[in-house]
Amino acid sequence: MSEALKNKNRQYKHGFVTEIEQETFPKGLNESIIRQISARKNEPPFLLDFRLKAYNWWKAQPHPNWAALDIPPIDFDEISYFSAPKSVLDGPKSLDEVDPELLRTFDRLGVPLHERERLAGVAVDAVFDSVSVGTTHSEMLEEHGIIFCSFSEAAQKHPELIQKYLGRVVPPTDNFYAALNSAVFSDGSFVYVPKGVKCPIDLSTYFRINASNTGQFERTLIIAEEGASVSYVEGCTAPMRDNNQLHAAIVELLALDDASIKYSTVQNWYGGDEEGRGGIYNFVIKRGRCEGQRSHISWTQVEAGSAITWKYPSVILKGNDSVGEFYSVALTNNRMQADTGTKMVHIGKNTRSTIVSKGISCEESRNSYRGLVRISPGAENARNFSQCDSMLVGDTSSANTFPYLEVHNPTAIIEHEATTSRISDDQLFYLQSRGLDAEGAVSLLVNGFCKEVFKTLPLEFSVEAVKLLEMKLEHSVG
């Protein structure tokens, strides 16, 4: 480990590596690797077909380069596409059979899985590299008819649901990374909430990257049937390494009539060191579809890690009177880059969307908001409100805002507000003259700046998010 990485250890407490025997596929991407992934997961044949079609389309595509990001060329043949601890190779078993080292890892990450220690109000699916280690509270959820399990398990136990819904929101040929993920996706979570059921607890997935030189290709699918509702939270961390690693995910949400899905992310992948060495490439496609009337999809994200973040959690507002929301805090420090925002596509009548984005850039990082609001011709009386605020800490960071508006219906009402601010010396002095040190002062100012977003998070995650930002800011000030 380099000296810089050792120093970094203080501020990234999740940077440890779990020493465990893993099976890792040889590097490289080809049909045979895809067949092996599918075989390893005992998938039904339709899934192998799905993967191969995506792969064949992907092969012919150039790498996209439209974002305000410097992405070093990625050699997709230098990545391994599957890695799993040997003890869980055949998919999740009961937690008693899981290697204690894995359980200790999740304990250390603050996500205890054991019955007696697990979080009371939250069901957890723990994903380690390419596989799920286990899922808590699933029996209780089953009593409500809710399915909450790893994607791999769902592919075996509920193939009819997977076949019906997979790729419906994000088709495999949607874009380069959609196709890559569709070809090689490893694990993620599957949630199905049946008609009229309100999920009684928060569901969450914790993603952990451990193996080196391995990509993680999360695939998550959440379906809320008519009148159903669910709140889902994801968290993620990875060891500190000098080389970059790819996390290319797809999350699809589908809400039918009167259904509601709230999806929250606290992203803390390793972001690289002061010199920009190492860190995760977090290239994620998240899209929700408000299929039904009066359906509601809300994204909240706190993006505080990753060397490069490239994601636009979006909502397609197809059902009449449906509602889409996007609340985002993106904090970049060191040499991190983020190009993130949302797309709100209004199709149904009386559809409403809200966008609140807060970008904080420190040190030499770059932070861009990019968002599209599209009002389709049939979207009568659509409304959108967007607020995009950027805060610069120090004088070497940069912030951009790229709002795109496509309005094809004259009845639309659209409001857009944007600000860029710097923490003023007067504010800092005021707080310092009351006894706060420089770090405490900046952290109070930043938390105030992000308040509108934090208050949309489930309480305990909101506390986590505040702590996370404080930790990140600790070394960016003074």
Partner: protein, 254 residues
């Protein structure tokens, strides 16, 4: 016993000409000093230099502050270190902190000082009780606490909020920078009475003021008249009245 000894203090806006040109001033425990002076005399600069505002630099002299049995030179301390050692400045123009509730701000500041002084912090319930008691001093209702710090506050509300902070942080040395400016008659009375109630035999106050409006409510032990960065006259409270009657030009006369 002395609490503050300013010796030959010269200070300027970073890289500018000196604004303070040799200030000598000593404050005893239990005293209230008024520093008066015309616009541009350097009186607000004095308050800001004492509190450690980063726009100013000290070019000469010392600011000795008696704390825990020893003399500290404030000019060598960070603003937050001065604060946790018991120095407080009520701002002439209180700063807005968007998104942060007044209550959260007060509690964060209070607990930061507790930590620095090695005394136990207060939890949310205990702190609310403390605030409720202090609020009465300046006739603020509880709705203040949920509002964002100084955002959309009227001039009077902002000044009252400064005094509330002072009441809660309980400083040994309070610098009140033009606290009486921009106040209507009622607010002036409330603020001045609040300040008066906060006076104890153990603390001291420096009232920086242009007019003697506040001095109708608070009788200072010592009055200094500042002009062109120097203290031209020092006297008892009658000096303030004399300035009021005869104007600042009188002070400049030899």
């Amino acid at each position: 016993m002395s609490i503050l000894k300013i010796e030959g203090l010269c200070a300027r806006v970073v890289d500018g000409p000196d604004i303070l040109k040799g200030i000598d001033l000593a404050v005893e425990e239990g005293q209230i000093h008024a520093v008066m002076g015309p616009n541009g005399s350097g009186k607000s600069t004095l308050a800001r230099v004492l509190a450690g505002h980063p726009d100013y630099e000290v070019t000469r002299g010392k600011v000795l502050y008696h704390h825990d049995g020893e003399w500290l030179d404030l000019t060598e301390m960070e603003p937050h270190e001065r604060a946790t050692a018991g120095v407080f400045m009520a701002f002439q123009y209180p700063v807005e902190i968007p998104g942060v509730s007044n209550l959260h701000f007060l509690q964060t500041a209070f607990n930061a000082q507790c930590r620095a002084q090695g005394i136990p912090e207060l939890d949310a319930f205990e702190f609310r009780e403390l605030v409720a008691e202090k609020q009465k001093l300046i006739e603020m209702d509880a709705s203040y606490l949920d509002r964002e710090v100084n955002l959309d506050f009227s001039g009077g509300e902002k000044k009252r909020n400064e005094i509330l902070q002072m009441a809660i942080l309980n400083p040994r040395l309070a610098l009140l920078d033009e606290t009486d400016s921009g106040l209507d008659v009622d607010s002036l009375r409330i603020v001045a009475e609040g300040v008066q109630k906060l006076q104890t035999p153990r603390n001291a106050m420096l009232l920086i003021t242009h007019y003697q409006r506040m001095l109708r409510y608070i009788t200072p032990d010592v009055v200094h008249v500042l002009a062109d960065g120097r203290i031209l006259r020092t006297g008892d409270h009658t000096l303030a009245e004399e300035v009021e009657n005869r104007g600042y030009e009188w002070v400049r006369q030899p």
